[in-house]
Symmetry: C2
Subunit: 327 residues, 2 copies
Amino acid sequence: MTTRQQTEEASFEGLVVGVDIGGTNLRVALANKAGTIVGRWSYSTVGIRDPQEIVRMTCKGVEALLSANASSHGDLVAIGAGAPGITDTDHGKVLATSYLMGWKNIPLRDLLEAELGVPAFVDNDVNMAAFGEHSAGSARGVDNFVFLAIGTGVGAGIILNGEPFRGEGWIAGEIGYMLVPGTSVGLVEAGEPGALEAIVGGEGIRSHWQGVWSEGSTELTKDATATQIFDEALAGNPLAHAVLGLASRTLAYAIYNISLVLNCPLFVLGGNVGLHPALVDATRVILKGRNARVQSRLVPSSLGVEAQLYGAVFQAIAIAGKPNPGR
Amino acid sequence: MTTRQQTEEASFEGLVVGVDIGGTNLRVALANKAGTIVGRWSYSTVGIRDPQEIVRMTCKGVEALLSANASSHGDLVAIGAGAPGITDTDHGKVLATSYLMGWKNIPLRDLLEAELGVPAFVDNDVNMAAFGEHSAGSARGVDNFVFLAIGTGVGAGIILNGEPFRGEGWIAGEIGYMLVPGTSVGLVEAGEPGALEAIVGGEGIRSHWQGVWSEGSTELTKDATATQIFDEALAGNPLAHAVLGLASRTLAYAIYNISLVLNCPLFVLGGNVGLHPALVDATRVILKGRNARVQSRLVPSSLGVEAQLYGAVFQAIAIAGKPNPGR
């Protein structure tokens, strides 16, 4: 199997832009038609909620990158953007983001196209990251796999037949709410972490650590981050190891459940918590210990925090120079 | 949305056959190109393991049905068959069945084509049932849904974009092993029920009943079947109600998990246990109680035990008169 990018030669000349709209940073990348990033630009988005403002900042970044690359606006052929929320890719709308940004039904594609004058494609950031891994990362050449983004929250980007699978309500892969042995079955209010997230997400891991932490038992502070706790587990601290054990066991159950549904051969772990080698290794051991009929491989994301940006770049390449009968 | 059967007119003249190969019965249906069954034939398969014998019995059924319909063998244009095991539809092979039949790598499609002289299509029986519901049952017009077969075992047939989704190893939907709150997390040996099956499957329900049963507390015997226990729950018996409660709660967790992954709007419950209105209703109440972002509908199969047979008929219609470049 090969990726679409490897089998189809891009039928355009020019440059594309990939955008990752995050809660703390807006990142913009300029790339050629092979997907090679030739320039990067980023800007803090802390406190910025207005989508028009995000679009204006994006344009500023695009112009700065084109200028630094000695290119003109006429060289730009398409833009892809990942947004941190539920996204209707048919209509290019961000239906909802977390309460932090508070977006509702934002026509992000139209806003970007109006400002930049080139075709745009927008998708949820986890789907973008999955597409990035498929196009240029750990899942290159694998047409059916699941990308798991584990940071503060937990979400999945599902690739089937080489394309993101988004579900009828654009929320396929919302596995942060999954119920597995050990999770709460209580109802979750809006803004609260989901059942799985409460154990496997960064804040859940910190909170477990705070519960078991005691003075003198570790050099790590009580308010350590998930990745610091995992580092401490690797260093042999038994408390940290117990926290890692619960997170990896619970994550392994979720991966096992997803693999029962989709029977896909590969899972890619991403996000700042998901990338940690201690979590990847411990989860892999538990998965291997289950006598599943088909063993799924578990690998860390090779693109890391760049996965969304690459996904946006490759989605821009996918739409560049192509007619879009949907509009 | 409409089904393929509704939008494309069948491009052939003649009759098709659908076959359901079960552990206790072989059922054969003769149908016209609209999918209307014009004749049925069945035969006991108890004690029969030889695939050649199953194929010979199938031919006997086909000839009997053609003759009863005053048709000749020349009127037959295609055959579809559902088998109780993991099936590679690309190569028409049954890779494995339960230990009862013990099939391994049986080229069922080739065997049927050699005997009957018409194109054949073989698939797993749960996928066939899902396709039946999509073509002529509760999921008519719904292109993304999950069919849950709950009998002795528990399995799912997943329809995405109007077609069965089978997974890379042909075992997508093998949810009998799913881990949800309350299930065992212990390893399952071959032939043993999976974690979910052990609670939601017919034998699991009986075993729970046997554990809570006491003389005088119910008119039902200790060795009652799952559907008898559910009848008793509907009649108001508290012990039976507790057994129903655990089964429906555990099933609701599994459905909720699948809907998080696939974000599909409909679940169809089939199989002799899954069809029971007490289970359907109790599970629906629990699902509605969860404040999911998108609520999936839960309905019983309208084809009941005929779902596989209809699926086989409609798959035969789908291949009838069409070139097959895969062979």
